[in-house]
Amino acid sequence: MSGAWQQDCDSVEGRCDDEPFVYMLHVGRYGDDVTGLVVRYVNSGAPFDPRMECGCYVMQGGRAKDTSISLHLKLRAAAAAPGDGPGCPAPTHPFASESCRAALADPPCSTLRFDLSGDDDILDGRLSCDDAAPGVTRRFVPARGKTRRTCLAADHCANLPSPDDSPP
């Protein structure tokens, strides 16, 4: 399961026209442990456009068993837990989209959970916000290119919106 996976927007089952955001998973599996990055993109009609990247998050609590993996992201930054919240691909990344800035400043939940299973070609599963059942179903397929291994911590991102920037 190690490698890059992107949300499937091309197949009949994986239409994501109505989604504001799409995700790419950069998975590293080490025995039963899983970590890596989840990169969020604004669904702008050109999916996974690097300019539309809207936060990258560390996979936390990742576990793998047979053909399934589970992990979660901390969408909200917390002073007590450095590393929670989003990072950025470059210090001057603009986060230009309004919907992106809103989602970063005021995340819909603090923890986004991924429960996926599949094989080398497809990962199917659910994304649930703060463990709220049942969540939404999503499909991921292998992505081309190298697995991304890191992104900059929030302290090094000049244009990353903070909670103070959220609209009233």
């Binding site: 899983v34 560390v58 590393g83 291994r149 890191t150 900059l152 911590a153």
Partner: protein, 482 residues
């Protein structure tokens, strides 16, 4: 001035050491004239009796023993060369009969031939053909055409007759040809044998005269003759004059490696025998001096691939392979006693959970005496001695975030991978007892293939490390230098 001259002479001696002592190589004739040195190993030339095909062309009664003086003179001329160990035709027959399995195969061939003859008399044609074919195969293996040519000829003749009666003209003709090759005086009787059989036989005889059969049996190594690079088989046949081709003697020199040197000599030429013998002598190896090998003293060098793992692994990284190259040097100290020096360099792979954060480059060296036992082409050895090893820098972690992300304080992973989550140790030196055990097999000449297993236990560590007790194996190609 004297010092300058001395220096000049010394330099001349250094740069031109061969100038005064090197002599032009001696020709083979000069070497023979000077006498062969002690311990000289002569090539063995096994001369078979000549197969005289000239009676093929004879019309009417055939003389029982055609004259073969040219061949006899050829053998005598060849034997005059002292560097060759010429086995004369009479001795060759004894040599053929003395080969392993000859007596048993001869009995079996006779039994098959007898059964074939009985089958033919009882008009069991298929059984006759099968039995006589088996007899023919055994006769060929035994080179029985030199021992009892008439027995071979009878078997092939009857097989040819049976094949003809079955309607197989082509194979019948081949069988008649083989019969005539064994006994060129063989003829069928007009008022006894069937006319169509006589016609087919005569056609085969005329074909054998016009186009001598391919020298397949003459140009192959004898199946039961032990292989040796110092032995050469010389088979020959006398062929009748046809059209513009005169009576001639054909010879085939066969080496154990399959090399065949054909030659042909017209009988009517003056000095035909000495001409042919001279050409053959010039084309054969001269021979060589065998140096007395002292017990022990053998020196071998090999190099190949090596693999090992550390059976004692306190890194918590699980088992990981180390693969690299090994070179070993062996020096025979006495009979069955030798010294081994081995040097190995290997790079580690990763454990399944990738706790190791980088490859470990390890050097190992071994020095130890041991016991060696040689059995035919195989050699078995075991050595016990001192091993010195030096594993390179080791970095391990069980923190999954440290495994995944490169160390960078600006990285989003920095908060998850503290500095103390990765433990490191620098290159160190280990000393202990090593042991090896192996087997090698000679491939060709001085080249051999060796498989060896090795293990070590370390007693001294320059810096503490969690690795120990390497267990591994190597596969090498080697060369015996002395």
């Amino acid at each position: 001035m004297i010092r300058l001259r001395t220096l000049t002479l010394c330099l001349a001696g250094l740069f031109f050491p061969m100038g005064a002592s090197a002599a032009p190589p001696l020709s083979d004739v000069e070497r023979l004239r000077d006498g062969l040195p002690p311990g000289f190993r002569r090539p063995t030339v096994v001369v078979y009796p000549v197969l005289d095909a000239r009676p093929l062309a004879a019309v009417g009664p055939v003389a029982p023993s055609p004259e073969t003086s040219v061949f006899d003179a050829f053998v005598a001329e060849l034997a005059r060369h002292e560097n060759l160990n010429v086995i004369r035709p009479g001795q060759t027959l004894q040599r053929v009969r003395a080969r392993k399995g000859f007596a048993e195969n001869e009995v079996e061939a006779g039994r098959m031939s007898g059964a074939g003859h009985d089958d033919y008399k009882q008009v069991r044609l298929d059984a006759a053909i099968d039995h006589l074919a088996e007899a023919g195969t055994l006769f060929s293996r035994l080179e029985y055409v030199y021992v009892d040519p008439r027995a071979v000829a009878r078997a092939e003749l009857v097989r040819g007759q049976a094949l003809l009666e079955k309607g197989d003209d082509v194979d019948a003709s081949t069988a008649f040809g083989r019969a005539l090759n064994a006994d060129p005086r063989l003829r069928l009787r007009p008022n006894y044998d069937r006319p169509e059989c006589i016609d087919a036989f005569e056609r085969a005889r005329r074909a054998a005269i016009e186009t001598p059969p391919a020298p397949t049996e003459l140009s192959r190594w004898a199946a039961d003759e032990p292989v040796s690079p110092d032995v050469y088989l010389v088979r020959s046949r006398l062929l009748p004059a046809v059209a513009e081709r005169p009576e001639r003697l054909e010879i085939y020199v066969v080496g154990s490696g399959g090399a065949v040197m054909p030659d042909v000599q017209a009988l009517a030429m003056p000095d035909a025998a000495s001409r042919l013998a001279g050409r053959l002598w010039a084309s054969l190896p001269f021979g060589h001096t065998v140096k007395d090998k002292k017990p022990g003293g053998e020196v071998r060098l090999d190099a190949g691939f090596a693999w090992f793992l550390f059976a004692e692994d306190g890194l918590g990284a699980g088992v990981f392979n180390n693969v690299g190259a090994q070179s070993s040097f062996y020096w025979g100290l006495a009979r069955n006693i030798g010294l081994q020096v081995a040097f190995l360099v290997a790079n580690s792979g990763r454990d399944t959970e990738e706790d190791l954060r980088g490859d470990i480059l390890t050097y190992r060296a071994f020095l130890g005496p041991g016991y060696e036992k040689r059995v035919a082409r195989w050699r078995f050895d075991a050595h016990l001695g001192v091993e010195v090893a030096s594993p390179g820098r080791i970095a391990t972690t069980d923190n999954v975030y440290c495994k995944h992300a490169p160390p960078d304080e600006r990285s989003i992973f920095a908060a998850f991978c503290p500095q103390d989550a990765i433990s490191t140790s620098n290159r160190t030196l280990l000393v202990g007892t090593g042991m090896t055990a192996g087997a090698s097999v000679d491939l060709v000449d001085d080249l051999y293939l060796a498989l060896q297993v090795n293990a070590a236990e370390y007693f001294y560590q320059l810096e503490s490390t969690d690795l120990g007790r390497p267990v591994g194996a190597s596969l090498s190609l080697g060369y015996r230098l002395r």
